[in-house]
């Protein structure tokens, strides 16, 4: 058994930022990471576009990770356990398995930064055969960028999430033919700059309201039947076509890795609910990063991780004092909001949320129980693919709140 002030599960961008802040705040901290390295998925994201918000400079994934690793290496009070798996969470303690054996780590506070897993062919009930040649985008990304191998030569990407778009470009640059990116929705779920720079630049067709109807092939993928779907995702059989390919890459969404957590989950984020200190319903257990909700940019993941690290270390010191608690509820076109509850008191809260549909020329408005606006922020335009952030001063919080969009 080993004792720490703060235990951080996950050594990706959220966990690294949390651990860094916690140890800088004087707490004896440990990161438990299942990979043999820190950095998480950043290590396989060799493209650029990371760090503009956090560092004011643009990096690739491995460079961004290295920035943090270098800071972590200089930090006292911070233990790193790699190749170590958490098998059970008990309050703020965790059971681990590693090459040193099975052990228990006891913490005063715990930060959950386990990230996400990718939705699979099974999750989306992909029809047809189940041959080799069907990969999740992250699996294919690791195969190409870390192992230096290729999944196949003729590729169809299902889903227009950012990893899928990035992989379309990556595979093209590695010599594969990306035949199409298919998206079941009428709009893409990825960032617009990725559509332009990953698909348009390489003349890769984007097929909207299109899905795979059937996977063909026995031992290995040999092709697909695909076609159009209507607004309710019903297939339109008359549009069915066949396309030859040897590889299907799925970029169909992420699910937070909540398996070890025994807490009620939010219907939209499919993760735990938190207050404005990023603390879950279990005292001393904090959550951040893509584990808490799927972010658009890694910079935002790190910022949230840092906040969770500060709060967890304050909690471990017994210094986290909270005011009166109120609810914060999303309304209308807002699909979810983090945090789920807020406290009155001092300081400022970072509120993160997503919208269901494109909006323009509107105000984000926070209303109190009696319908009074306590805060508003103008938004020229926003897309579902982009996470939204507003700030709220705690001294304005005096009742349960609602967050909504008011079109101007």
């Amino acid at each position: 058994m080993k004792n720490y002030d703060v235990i951080v599960i996950g050594g990706g961008p959220a966990g690294m930022a949390a651990a860094l802040k916690s140890s800088e705040n004087g707490c004896k901290t440990v990161i438990v990471e299942r990979n043999p390295f820190l950095g998480g998925i950043l290590k396989q994201c060799i493209h650029n576009g990371f760090g503009l918000h956090y560092f004011g400079e643009e990096f690739t994934g491995p460079e961004y990770a290295k920035k943090f690793v270098e800071m972590i290496e200089k930090t006292k009070n911070l233990t790193i356990m790699t190749n170590t798996f958490v098998t059970n969470i008990d309050g703020t303690n965790v059971d681990i398995t590693s090459q040193n054996g099975v052990d228990r780590l006891c913490g005063k506070a715990l930060v959950l930064a386990m990230g996400c897993r990718e939705r699979t062919a099974g999750n989306i009930l992909l029809n047809g055969t189940r041959p080799a040649g069907i990969y999740t985008a992250g699996e294919a990304q690791r195969m190409v960028n870390i192992l230096g191998k290729m999944p196949g030569k003729e590729i169809v990407i299902l889903g227009s999430g950012d990893i899928g778009l990035i992989m379309a470009r990556r595979l093209t640059l590695q010599g594969a033919k990306v035949k199409a990116v298919m998206e079941i929705n009428p709009t893409t779920s990825g960032l617009r700059r990725n559509i332009v720079q990953c698909l348009d630049d390489y003349n890769i067709p984007l097929m909207l309201q299109t899905s795979i109807f059937e996977v063909l092939g026995d031992g290995r993928v040999e092709g697909i039947k695909y076609g159009k779907v209507d607004d309710r995702y019903n297939r339109i059989p008359s549009t069915t076509k066949t396309l030859k390919c040897d590889t299907i890459i799925l970029s169909v969404g992420l699910v937070p890795e909540t398996d070890l957590v025994d807490l009620p989950l939010n219907r939209v984020t499919k993760s735990v609910m938190v207050n404005d200190y990023l603390e879950t319903a279990n005292d001393g257990v904090f959550a951040c990063g893509n584990f808490l909700h799927v972010h658009d940019l890694v910079d935002n993941v790190s910022l949230e991780g840092a906040a969770a690290g500060i709060n967890a270390s304050e909690y471990a010191k017994g210094k986290l004092s909270k005011g009166k608690v109120y609810s914060l509820t999303p309304d209308g076109v807002i699909s979810y909001v983090i945090p789920n509850t807020v406290h009155s008191g001092e300081g400022e809260i970072e509120i993160r949320f997503r919208i269901r549909a494109r909006i323009e020329k509107s105000n984000y408005v926070i209303e109190d129980e009696s319908g009074n606006q306590i805060m508003k922020k103008y938004v020229m335009a926003a897309m579902p693919g982009e996470m939204q952030t507003i700030k709220l001063k705690r001294d304005l919080i005096k009742s349960n709140l609602t967050l909504k969009v008011v079109k101007l």
Partner: protein, 475 residues
């Protein structure tokens, strides 16, 4: 050409073929299985409900009725010998047709099924609180089990191998020639000479019969689709729940699996020998299961699959060929084929004239390493001995490097990623191998000393990754 002589050859490494293989090797015979795929249990045996039925719904006085009840009684002993988990959860049949329930009770009695009980509406809903109100009548049979059908078959095959049997994988029969004292089977590279052939090729029965010029049967394929649900759902049912059977089969059931998942299915569509899943089939299951139990959340699906069962008329076909002396035809082994397999084997061996005497070779397989069944002290002792048992490769199922290496270094060395999955469940969990497929492929490559880009998922053309320049190496 390489020539080998055997006392008997079994064509097909499904549960029936492997059962015969196991019984004959233990009886001291020198036998071989020839299998076109790269592992045992890759056809019908890997894709079914994983149930050992009690035997009450078979038509009385059929082979199905007789062999199911006999096979059912044999399972506990075989599983204990092999160290394979067999769970006696019992099975419910529920519906709203009292007469149909009475009919099943009668059939069960006629078939000699013990431990059956008719349940009143109130008793039924007390025992199964999640049943829909439309389910007003039913029965419970205590002698129904759940089993991991492929793991069982693998262990049975391993025992056959350590008792002297041989399995030829990736063996594609080119010709079978009848000679004065038997048959010469050839794939163009290796000839196997044998006086006795068991045609246990399952869905491929007629393909083999054509080569043998033995009896062809009117084989109909029926495809069954299934949902597999996440471990989070493991408590939604505690026993297997069937609807009242229809002409098409046992209907859409819900059952726990020995590995803590929930299985929902199957459909039953007449089809080619294909294992596709369809939108219609999956929707059909969803509709049917909702009518029976109200708490099954198909949103927690981690995998969908389909299996094919071969049907010849109403009963199993297990008979000596009239055209080819020494050939035993085994066809139409649909449900309850898994339940009947041990008894089918003994019947087929009897028909062949060979003698079943399992006292000749009694080597037992070593149990699989399974850390999930160990105490902390046992785990630590193992990790101290070999740190590979402390490195988890498949995080969803908690499978360590040590367990995967052990599974490869067994009497039958699995060469495929699915082979690893069926032995130790790496890649069988909620992420479906998204995080560990590449690591499993690397371990197979290292342990077998083969290039990474020659590792296949299941079939010989099912390569998992290409080299950077887009090449795969076929072994």
């Amino acid at each position: 050409m390489n020539r080998i002589s055997k006392d008997a050859v079994i064509i097909g490494a499904g549960v029936v073929g492997v059962s015969i293989f196991n019984d004959l090797t233990r009886s001291g015979y020198d036998v071989a299985i020839i299998e076109k795929e790269l592992d045992v249990s890759t056809g019908t045996t890997k894709a079914n409900s994983g149930l050992i039925h009690a035997g009450f719904d078979c038509k009385p006085n059929t082979l199905k009725a007789k062999l199911n009840v006999e096979g059912n009684a044999m399972y506990p002993e075989i599983c204990a010998r092999l160290g394979v988990e067999l769970k006696r959860l019992g099975a419910y049949v529920v519906g709203n047709d009292e007469e149909a329930v009475n009919n099943l009770m009668e059939k069960g009695k006629a078939n000699g099924v013990k431990g059956m009980k008719k349940l009143s509406n109130s008793a039924l809903h007390k025992l199964l609180p999640n049943l829909t109100p439309e389910m007003t009548t039913g029965l419970f049979a205590e002698n129904a089990y759940i089993i991991d059908p492929y793991f069982y078959t693998i262990c049975l095959a391993e025992e056959g191998v350590i008792n002297g049997g041989e399995i030829y994988f990736d063996y594609h029969i080119k010709s079978i020639k009848q000679t004065a004292n038997g048959y010469v089977i050839s794939n163009g590279k290796e000839e196997i000479i044998t006086p006795i052939i068991f045609n246990a090729a399952g869905a491929g029965y007629n393909d083999v019969a054509k080569l043998l010029k033995s009896e062809l049967y009117n084989v109909v394929h029926r495809r069954g689709e299934y949902y597999v649900l996440d471990h989070s759902e493991k408590d939604v049912v505690k026993s297997t729940i069937f609807p009242l059977p229809t002409k098409a089969g046992k209907g859409v059931l819900v059952t726990p699996t020995v590995n803590g998942n929930i299985l929902v299915g199957p459909t039953s569509y007449e089809s080619d020998d294909t294992t596709v899943t369809t939108a219609e089939g999956l929707a059909d299951i969803a509709t049917k299961v909702k009518k029976m139990v109200d708490n099954v959340n198909l949103g927690k699906t981690i995998r969908v699959f389909a299996g094919v069962r071969s049907i010849v008329g109403e009963d199993f076909v297990i008979e000596p060929s009239q055209k080819c002396k020494g050939v035993i035809n085994i066809a139409g082994i649909c449900s309850p084929g898994l339940s009947s397999a041990p008894a089918i084997s003994q019947m087929a061996i009897g028909l062949s004239g060979l003698k079943y005497d399992p006292t000749i070779r009694c080597n037992k397989i070593a149990p699989y390493t399974n850390l999930s069944k160990m105490s902390v002290a046992e785990k630590n002792a193992l990790i101290r001995r070999d740190k590979d048992y402390g490195l988890i490769v498949c995080k969803c199922e908690g499978i360590t490097l040590g367990e995967i290496k052990d599974a490869i270094n067994r009497p039958i060395r699995p060469r495929t990623m699915d082979g690893i999955k069926r032995r130790v469940r790496a890649g069988m969990g909620r992420c479906q191998g998204g995080f560990c497929n590449d690591k499993v492929a690397m371990i197979i490559s290292q342990e077998n000393n083969i290039p990474l880009n020659s590792v296949v998922k299941e079939k010989s053309n099912g390569y998992y990754m290409l080299s950077r320049s887009g090449v795969n190496e076929k072994l």
